[in-house]
Each structure stands twice: as structure tokens, then as C-alpha cells.
Symmetry: C2
Subunit: 143 residues, 2 copies
DNA sequence: TCATTTTTAATTGTATACAATTGAATTATA
DNA sequence: TATAATTCAATTGTATACAATTAAAAATGA
């Protein structure tokens, strides 16, 4: 096939990836609204449910986001009292993000979200595993 | 596994989808910069390379974007003289987007982009096909 | 026909994303 | 150790995204 014929929407791989990402994130909305979180805030809380404490740079490395996105987002989570923001005493450049008890409680309220989203994707076990592997293969290659 | 244990980044499918989408779009940037396009503007031009003429609603249906995103984006593409925006005479509610000769020329300059991006994803033929099928299965189910 | 409903694009407001820059703090090195 | 280079979070500016609303035009139906 001539290269120029590849320039159609239906021949793209990135386009359905981009659309799936957005459309799935929309499916989270009714569940996340109940918790007062956006999707980006939700994945941020997910890191904190595991780590309890992390600085902005490390958080950004995990989430593939930079301080330009995280700084205002973390201020919003602090306003909602789900996290605290404190300068590290060891390294004054670092801002330590830590989870609050109110932030911990959120996890219980969120516990059924992955299952609910999983159902509306309607994938077989094999498809889920294949998709997961391919996505992480791309991620490992791309950076 | 208990539902609550699913609330980790590594157990998510949407998260790597969302990250892959963003990271691949970043890979387009050096190529698209040469054309003066963003990724969203690029997929918009891709529709116009096929359709020549389309109204905002139909364009939005194809791209999964609404007028809130498309209206300002289309005004930028018009400023760059890649498209024209004209009210339909048959139905005054509709705005017809049409491609200009300068917009057509862009396609030639863009012709090697899909191949270049394909290389940096480094997927086997089977992986590409599997990924494509799974993504469209999700898209068909989700709407 | 004529009021009601629907469709369409634009607008408004909020929330990302990210490139580039800034300034403070730390680390590396001559 | 004094200077240069690096790291980190914040800021600035641009470009999406999308929910909700608005206003004009077209379609519907009593």
C-alpha cells in the first residue's frame, strides 16, 4: 500500500487508542462524581493509596504527568482535604504529598469502580491480557 | 481477589491506555510541528483529506469531539488557510467545513507520518491487528 | 398553520496536558 | 570551597476536552 493511502482515520492505531481512552474515562464520570474526583485526581489518589507519601516528581513519573498538570491538581485535592502538601525538610526543593484519613476513606467508597468499568468494556480474559501486554510493550519501547 | 486490591495503578487497563495515547501523540509532535498542526488538528485534516466537505456535527461524530472543542480548533485551521468555514445554504444551522488547495498539499507533506510512528511503536503485525480489533470492540460496545 | 420539539454550532466555565521558563535548593566539579 | 550544572516545583502560555447553556433554524404534530 502506498504511504499516502495510510492517511485515513480507519488506518490509524493511535486514533482508536486516543478515543478509547477518552470514552472509557467518560464512563468513570458517574462513579467518580460521587467521590468528588476527576479521572486524573482518581489515578493520583490511587498512587497515594499505595504509597501514602510521595513527592511531586516521583508522582509525575508514575502518572506520566508534569508539575504543570500536577501542581494545580494537587492544590484541588488539598482543598478537598484528601491530601496534604508539605515541603521536605531533608530537601527543600521537594514537596511531599501525603494522604489524609479522609483520603484513605475514599478508597473504600471507590472499591467497586474497577469491576464496574470492567463490565462495560466487555472484554474476554484473553483480550484484557493481550491489551494489557501490548500497551505496556508500547510504553516500555516509547521511553 | 478482593475488589479493594484492584485499586492499584498496575491493575488498571484504562491507565496504560490513557498514557499510551498521550505518549504516542507526543511522538507525533516533531512531525506535526513541521506542518504547523497539533494532533487534534491532524486527525481533523485526515477526515477532510477523505471527505473534502463535512459539517461540524458529522465531523464531531467521526472524531468523537463536540463543538466546544471543534469550533475554536476549526477557526485556527481556517486562519492557517487549510480549511474554509461556510454556512450551508440548504440548512442554515449547519456549518460546512471544506478543504482548501493548501490543505490538500499538507497531505503530501504528511504522507510518511504513519510509517514513522509505526516504527517507534515496534509492534508485530499480530499485535497491531489484535490491538486494533480490541480497541474497536471496546468502542462499539461503549456507545 | 403555528406552537412545540429537535437539531446545530457557538459560548461559557472548569479541568486537564504540556512546552518553556523561572527561581530556589542541591549536587558536582574544577 | 566557590562556581557551574542539575534538580525540583511553580508559573506562564497555548491547546485541547467536555458539560451545560444559548440562540437560531428546521422539523414535527396537533
Amino acid at each position: 500500500m502506498d504511504n499516502i493511502d495510510l492517511l485515513t482515520i480507519e488506518n490509524q492505531l493511535c486514533f482508536p487508542l486516543y478515543v478509547c481512552s477518552k470514552e472509557i474515562i467518560k464512563k468513570y464520570k458517574p462513579y467518580l462524581d460521587k467521590l468528588g474526583l476527576t479521572y486524573t485526581q482518581y489515578i493520583t489518589m490511587m498512587v497515594l493509596w499505595e504509597e501514602k507519601e510521595i513527592n511531586v516528581k516521583s508522582l509525575g513519573d508514575k502518572l506520566y504527568l508534569d508539575s504543570g498538570t500536577l501542581t494545580p491538581l494537587l492544590k484541588k485535592l488539598e482543598n478537598k482535604q484528601y491530601i496534604k502538601r508539605n515541603k521536605s525538610s531533608k530537601d527543600e526543593r521537594k514537596l511531599i504529598i501525603s494522604i489524609t484519613p479522609k483520603g484513605e476513606e475514599l478508597k473504600i467508597l471507590a472499591k467497586d469502580i474497577p469491576t464496574s468499568i470492567g463490565k462495560c468494556l466487555n472484554l474476554t480474559k484473553k483480550e484484557s491480557v493481550d491489551l494489557y501486554k501490548i500497551l505496556y510493550k508500547i510504553l516500555n519501547k516509547i521511553n
